[in-house]
């Protein structure tokens, strides 16, 4: 009670709005609604893909879709085996990651362990610019520069091919790997490096035996996320990899990826509700699940191996 008196004496100088408690509650609900929107988005994605895909799977069995090796939804004889699209996607992604993983990791190590501060301050934004270039631009680059250049080396290569799309995709996701890996390595405390140097380690030994192992989870997850990104990439492959659904391991051939197929069909005049129209949702659904699984694995890796410093 005395306390209450105390508070009243305070209020002569302090004017605090009385409604602040209700205000606090309201604000909390509004913010919660914002957060829930993201859940709604996921639900929306799944529902719209499943609902539209449902129509497709009413006509084509899931088994045929997943195991068929020929994809020809428009031209007769129609076939709805998605494997050629999946294969094309994988081919491009594998080429991309084979290029981007070593180069990206190398760049990351260079930047975090070797580069002078000034160099890093210049090079990092440059690489980030590379990551920020729209994929359409990469498509243009692949088509108008990389393919012609490759053709000089491999004369019988056709214009639309998996190799140049994959390589350019590699260039595109390389900065993602280097940035994420470098972040992981930079978050390894300076004190660990000092500890190793003080034991007489060379720079390389510090990098390879202390920093990389300590940042391994970040590095691996950067790889996984980069692959997932490559799988979902659209415009580059639409422009440069061709529109020929074909199950092949030959990078010099023209192929079609899942994403490129969706674009191809969107650009056409397929009527809402037609089987052709619904194919894109079926492919979209598959694409969504593949990337979802990869992303889940990626975040799992991070969580499982994350080392808590400080």
């Amino acid at each position: 009670m005395k306390k209450n008196k105390d508070i009243t004496t305070r209020s002569s100088v302090y004017k605090r709005s009385a409604s602040s408690k209700i205000e606090g509650k309201a604000i909390k609900w509004i913010l919660l609604a914002c957060a829930l929107l993201s859940v709604a988005t996921t639900v929306g994605i799944v529902v719209s893909l499943v609902v539209q895909g449902w129509n497709f799977f009413m006509e084509v069995s899931l088994w045929e879709f997943l195991t068929g090796t020929r994809w020809s939804p428009i031209l007769k004889p129609r076939a709805h085996g998605v494997l050629p699209l999946v294969g094309g996607t994988m081919l491009v992604s594998i080429i991309a990651i084979l290029f981007a993983a070593p180069v990206g990791l190398g760049a990351a190590i260079y930047l975090s362990e070797y580069a002078a501060d000034r160099v890093r301050r210049i090079v990092k934004p440059v690489l980030e610019i590379l990551a920020g270039v729209p994929t359409i631009v990469y498509g243009y680059f692949a088509l108008s520069f990389v393919t012609p250049s490759l053709q000089k080396v491999i004369p019988n290569m056709i214009v639309f091919n998996a190799l140049s799309a994959g390589l350019v995709m590699g260039i595109m996701i390389m900065p993602m790997i280097s940035t994420l890996s470098e972040d992981a390595m930079m978050s390894v405390p300076r004190s660990l490096r000092n500890g190793a140097y003080a034991l007489g380690a060379t720079r390389l030994e510090v990098a390879s035996r202390v920093v990389v192992p300590a940042a391994l989870s970040g590095i691996i997850s950067s790889f996984i996320l980069a692959v997932s990104r490559a799988i979902g990439e659209t415009m580059l492959v639409t422009i440069a990899a061709g529109a020929t659904p074909r199950l092949t391991a030959n990078p010099l051939e023209s192929i079609q990826t899942m994403t490129a197929y969706i674009v191809q069909l969107s650009l056409g005049e397929a009527a809402f509700g037609s089987l052709e129209y619904n194919t894109i949702f079926a492919v979209g659904l598959l694409l969504f699940f593949i990337t979802l699984i990869m992303n889940l694995i990626g975040s799992l890796v991070v969580n499982k191996w994350r080392q808590k410093y400080e």
């Binding site: 002078a116 405390p189 004190s191 140097y197 034991l199 380690a201 300590a214 080392q307």
Partner: protein, 268 residues
């Protein structure tokens, strides 16, 4: 006759000095952080560096194993004489130095590896050929950690408590059998109990090693060291050496007014 004796003593003393700084100057870019420091460190003793924050204690300490090389803007003038060789002369390799002059840091920084691998790290990179298990055990014993960890050598070093981590870092340093161990405020992140354990460890280690320790805690310097060097910051913000002497003398009867003021907590 008496003269002769003095000479012998002189020689004895200089024989006892294991490392010394001569006209040490350290610049960070244009800023002179340390000015004309001359310091002798006696073998198998603990020398502590004390002084107000920013007076260059850490900077001086890092000169002794060329850790300053890792700071790009840092430039060192003068010389560090170790076994008669200037560590800053061209032909000396910093990496090599660091396996003879180890260092322990303010915050315990075990590698995120197993306890065993932490201790073995220095040995492995240096291409140690002997029995690794034995070497690891020996170092952990020296660091008074063996009994606490012998059943969990596979566990990550990070699972240890702060004080144990610091002793692990000391064990790691001992493994490569350095001559000298530099310690930069090794207890400032630890609680009093862990601090005491480290302090006792330091006193035990000097039978084999020479230790230079930077500490903010004057009482720690008093407890732990044989000699104490007091540094201060000049008007030009450069740190300089005010006085070196027997720890007991410094703490009961320092020669310099400035040392007295600092030690008794009076500052102008």
């Amino acid at each position: 006759m008496e003269n002769e004796i003095t000479q012998v003593t002189d020689k004895e003393i200089s024989k006892n000095i294991i490392i010394s700084a001569r006209n040490l100057n350290v610049y960070y870019g244009n800023f002179r952080a340390v000015k004309d420091v001359n310091l002798d460190v006696k073998k198998n003793q603990v020398l502590s560096l004390i002084g107000p924050s920013g007076c260059g204690k850490s900077t001086v300490l890092r000169c002794f194993n060329r850790m300053n090389d890792l700071i790009l803007s840092a430039e060192v003038g003068g010389s560090i004489l170790y076994n008669g060789i200037n560590l800053y002369s061209a032909e000396v390799d910093a990496t090599e130095i660091r396996s003879s002059i180890g260092m322990v840091f303010q915050k315990p920084n075990p590698f995120p590896k197993s306890i065993y691998d932490n201790v073995a790290f220095g040995l492995r990179i240096n291409g140690y050929q002997g029995d690794m298990d034995e070497a690891v055990e020996k170092s952990l014993k020296q660091a008074a950690l063996w009994d606490e960890v012998k059943d969990r050598l596979k566990d990550s070093g990070l699972t240890l408590s702060g004080g144990q981590q610091q002793r692990l870092c000391i064990a790691r340093t001992l493994a490569i059998e350095p001559d000298i161990i530099l310690m930069d405020e090794p207890c400032s992140a630890l609680d009093p109990i862990a601090t005491l354990a480290i302090e006792e460890l330091i006193r035990e280690l000097i039978t084999k090693y020479t230790i230079i320790i930077v500490t903010h805690n004057m009482q720690q310097a008093a407890r732990v060291s044989d000699e104490t060097a007091f540094l201060m910051v000049g008007e030009d913000r450069a740190g300089y050496l005010v006085e070196t002497g027997d720890t007991q003398q410094i703490f009961t009867n320092p020669k310099e007014e400035r040392t007295e003021s600092y030690i008794t907590g009076r500052f102008s």
